[in-house]
Structures are given as C-alpha cells and as structure tokens.
C-alpha cells in the first residue's frame, strides 16, 4: 500500500526532516508511527498525501509512484487516501452531514447516493443523530469522529491519521482507536501517528519509530517480531 525507498526530505542545509527512509506497509496492515516531536512524522504523511515531494527517493502509494504524478493527477491520488488530523479540519460553515458529504460531492456522486452513504457512515461513527449539528456544537471527540467519517466515506482503502487523539482525553482517544481497529478489520489499511504510549504498548500492532528523520533501530519489522522488541525497549 505504501512503499518508501531511500526517501530524503531536506528543508534546508540544517533541517533534514527525513533521511534515507525505506519502508513498506502492506495492504490491510495497521501500523503506528511514533517518535518525538520533530522526528518527521508529519513530513512523512505530507509526502504520502502529495502535499510535498521528497528531495530524493521514491514514494509509492496504492501502486502509484508519486514522483511521476503531475499536478492534475494529485487530486485523484488524494481520493485514494483518507486523512485525519489532530485539529479535525472540519468546515465550520457546514453541518456534520455536509462535511462528510464533501468527498462524495467532489466525486460528482448523485444526491440520493450521497445521502445514503453519508448516513451509513455517520451511523458507523455513532453520530447519525447529530447530522444537522455544526462543528462548534460538537465536542472534540465528536468532531474527530465526523472527520474520520469524512476520511472514510469514499472508501479510500488507506487511512492516514496524524496524531488524531492529540486533542482528546484518554476515554475519547480509546474510542477513536477502537473505531480505527474496526475500520481496519473491514480491510482498510491504517497508518496512525501517535504519541500515546498506551496504544503502542497495549495493542499487538506494528510500530515504526522515527528519530531525527531515521527509523529507530529495530523498529521496522513486521508485527510479530516487533512485539518482542517493543516489550524489551519501551
């Protein structure tokens, strides 16, 4: 699903946000991305979502080599990836329903089908009854669930979440992670950046740890081996 090969991202002489990053995430995997602030997590996600290009190296997402993507093709790459941020990024002048409908409108889908799919998606995140609410009438956890519904409503196959629980308390964070687990069980590849150690140590999930733009030693293996490493080093 995601394949990076010798990826560098150099902002300036002194800032090497990513250096010689090589990794592979298979279809259907659930992977945590962790590491201290400034390690390059967001930079990596920006490369995967076509918000930036690597200084060198190749990034392949859903079979598409992003180095060969033209500006015209960028929107079509983004449609294959659902993205969730720490700060939700909901449109304040649209209701929950309208926010979730956005990706489908962009696809030019028919009104009736949009309504059906948005309602179904809001059901899945447990917010159908708040369809008509504006973002400022929702709690942080609810806003994040609306954002997740928006990321998934077009069935993108890959979900990327950049510290999605950073603004939420532990209970709400747990809810969000359970939602991700459910989505992953339905076949969506999930790649989540998080600081929250409880998730990383609790779940038997694969963890990639970034430090100063490098993958930390021992942190880029398939899930089973990782469990031992995590048990030893965390």
């Amino acid at each position: 699903m995601i394949e990076l090969s010798h990826v560098y991202k150099i902002y300036s002489q002194s800032v090497h946000a990513l250096s010689n990053l090589t990794m592979k995430i298979a279809r259907g995997e659930f992977v945590y991305l962790t590491g201290p602030s400034g390690a390059g997590k967001t930079t990596l996600f920006r490369l995967i979502t076509c918000y930036d290009r690597p200084s060198s190296g190749t990034v392949v997402v859903a079979g598409q080599n992003l180095s060969t993507v033209t500006p015209d093709q960028v929107p079509f790459v983004r449609r294959k990836v659902g993205v969730v941020f720490q700060d939700f990024k909901l449109l304040k002048n649209r209701t929950s329903f309208e926010n979730v409908a956005l990706p489908l409108e962009v696809l030019g889908m028919k009104r009736a089908e949009i309504t059906a799919r948005v309602n179904d998606m809001l059901d899945q995140v447990g917010l159908r009854y708040k369809s008509g609410y504006w973002p400022n009438q929702l709690s942080g956890g609810e806003q994040q669930r609306v954002a997740i519904a928006r990321a998934l409503v077009s069935k993108p196959g890959l979900l990327i979440a950049d510290e999605p629980t950073g603004n939420l308390d532990q209970n709400l964070s747990n809810e969000i992670m359970e939602l991700f687990a459910r989505i992953n069980a339905q076949g969506t590849t999930v790649f989540v950046a998080t600081h929250n150690q409880s998730f990383i140590s609790k779940g038997n999930r694969r963890v990639i740890r970034l430090e100063k733009g490098h993958i930390a030693d021992g942190f880029n293996r398939p899930a089973p081996q990782l469990q031992e490493v995590a048990a030893r080093e965390l």
């Binding site: 079509f76 956005l102 990706p103 077009s154």
Partner: protein
C-alpha cells in the same frame, strides 16, 4: 441554478463582512469611474451644442475674377470636411445687415452707407460636417482659405474656438488623470480585499484539496462569487449614479430654465448599462481567479508548518 444559489448563500452567510467590504470597495470604485465617464460625455455634448454655432465665413475681394471664383468653388468641393457652402452676394449681405440694424433707425444706416457704393463684401458661408468639426480642423481650413486668390478675409469665431478647445482639453486631461488614479487605487484595494477574504477561505481551500477536489472544482465557487459581487457592485453604482444624475438634472433645470442645451444631456444608453454589468462580472471573476489561483496551484498548495 441550485448550485449557484447554495454557493452564494453559503458564502454570504459565513463571510458576510468580508463580502460586504469587498463589494463596497468595488461599488465605490465603479461609481467614481462611471461618474467621471458620465460627467465628461455630457460636458462634451453640452459643449458640442455650442460648437454647432461655429462656422467659417470666407469674405471675397470686390475685385475677384470669375476664374478665381471657380477655383474657390472647386476648392470647397474637394474638401471632404465641408458639407455645403452658400454664396452670399454683396446685395444680400447689405440686406441682411440692414435688417439686423433697422431697429437703430434709418439715419444710422445712411450714415454708414455714405455714397451709393455698397461697402459689404460678397462671401461664402461654409458648413463643416458635424463629426469632423474640431477646433484644429476649423483653424487649419481658415488658414488655407485665407491664402487663396480673391479671398479678402476669413472669420471663424477665433477667440471662442480657442477657449473651447482649451476647455475640452482640460476636461479630457482631468478625466484621464482621475480615472487613472482611481483605477490604480481600485486594483490595489480590490486585490487587498480579496486577499483578505481569501486568507479567511484558506482553510476551506485546504480541506477541499484534502478530499481530492480538482483545481476546477475548488476555483469555481470563488469565481462565481466574484462575478456575483462584481455584478452587484456595478448594479448598485449604476443605480446610485442614475439617482445622482436625476437630482443634478432637476437642479440644473430649475437654474437654467428651459435652456435648449439641457435636452442634449443623457444617462448611459441601455447597451452601455448592460456592458457595465458584464464588465463588472468579468472584473469580479478575474479578481477572484487571480487570487484563488495563487493559493490553489494544484500541487502542494498548502504549506503549513505542522510539527
């Protein structure tokens, strides 16, 4: 149509003040430019009516020969700007003079006439085509005629014409200077206003990009909205100008009375009103396009330091 309505409704609901400010600035600029245009065209018309009074009179020598007369006639005929000419012989000149002065009494007339010799010269009254009637052309023609054989003198209201020409020049120059200044200011303010409103919309664009909206999809609502604001501004300025025109016309009417020249004044013709509305829409759409294109480049459009 439905989409248009929802685009406009959403935009005005959530950005009422930035939209109002942008439209207000546009309205003010349009009003000033259109006002200057209206004023100068009407002033031009007003002056043109006066200009109609101007004609060239070519006075002939008493000793003019038949060949010279023929040459003069041919000269007039070959001059394109001349629409027609009328020969006034000595007797007719005297008659018209006597008629105009008869009220002063017969004694006065006899005093001027002296002997039986008729002192009035024969002349040609020349009509210049209206569309070619410029001060420069009239002065040029008069100078040429005065060189012809058999011509005594040429008169064309020299003093008045000079003032008329200067006045027209000053008005045109002032209009040009003002329009340029306002246009420059207009471009600055509009681009600032739109820029400010775009900063507000930046988030919106960012999210649309995130969900995979194409450049076209992202830009369209902004352009629709810009066009709408441009039309709105043009319509409001035209409306305000029409009211101002009416008021000024009425006050002029009461001051000048039934002066005939007032009837030559007019507001913009219908086709120009339509043109101004279309131009307003085009300016609004173009302004929005330029600004949104700067934010939404299709690739890596949003650079947000997120760490």
């Amino acid at each position: 149509m439905n989409e248009l309505k929802s685009v406009l409704l959403r935009s005005w609901q959530s950005h009422f003040w930035t939209n109002t400010a942008t439209t207000g600035v546009l309205t003010l600029s349009f009003s000033l430019i259109l006002g200057i245009l209206l004023f100068t065209t009407n002033l031009g018309r007003f002056l043109a009516v006066w200009g109609d009074e101007i004609q060239i009179t070519v006075y002939l020598k008493d000793t003019v020969s038949a060949e010279q007369l023929g040459a003069i006639k041919r000269g007039f005929q070959s001059e394109r700007a001349i629409e027609g000419f009328q020969y006034i012989n000595k007797e007719a000149a005297q008659a018209s003079f006597e008629k105009s002065l008869s009220s002063y009494g017969p004694d006065f007339l006899r005093a001027i006439q002296g002997d039986n010799e008729n002192p009035f010269p024969a002349s040609y009254l020349i009509k210049i085509a209206k569309e070619k009637k410029t001060p420069e052309l009239i002065a040029g023609l008069a100078q040429e005629f005065s060189k012809w054989g058999g011509v005594e003198d040429v008169s064309f209201g020299q003093e008045w014409l000079k003032n008329y020409a200067v006045l027209l020049k000053i008005v045109r120059l002032m209009a040009m200077v003002f329009t340029t200044i306002i246009l420059i200011g207009c471009v600055f303010t509009v681009s600032n206003a739109v820029q400010a409103s775009l900063t507000v919309r930046r988030e919106e664009i960012e999210i649309l990009e995130l969900v995979g909206a194409t450049q076209k999809t992202i830009r369209r609502p902004f352009i629709v909205e810009g066009a709408f604001q441009g039309i709105l501004a043009a319509a409001v300025s035209l409306f305000l100008l029409a009211i101002a025109y009416k008021l000024i016309y009425q006050s002029l009417d009461s001051v000048l009375g039934a002066a005939t020249t007032l009837s030559t004044l007019s507001f913009f013709p219908f086709y120009l009103v339509v043109f101004v509305l279309v131009l307003g829409a085009a300016i609004g759409a173009a302004g929005s396009y330029v600004c949104v294109a700067r934010l939404n480049t299709g690739w890596a459009a949003v650079h947000e330091g997120h760490s």
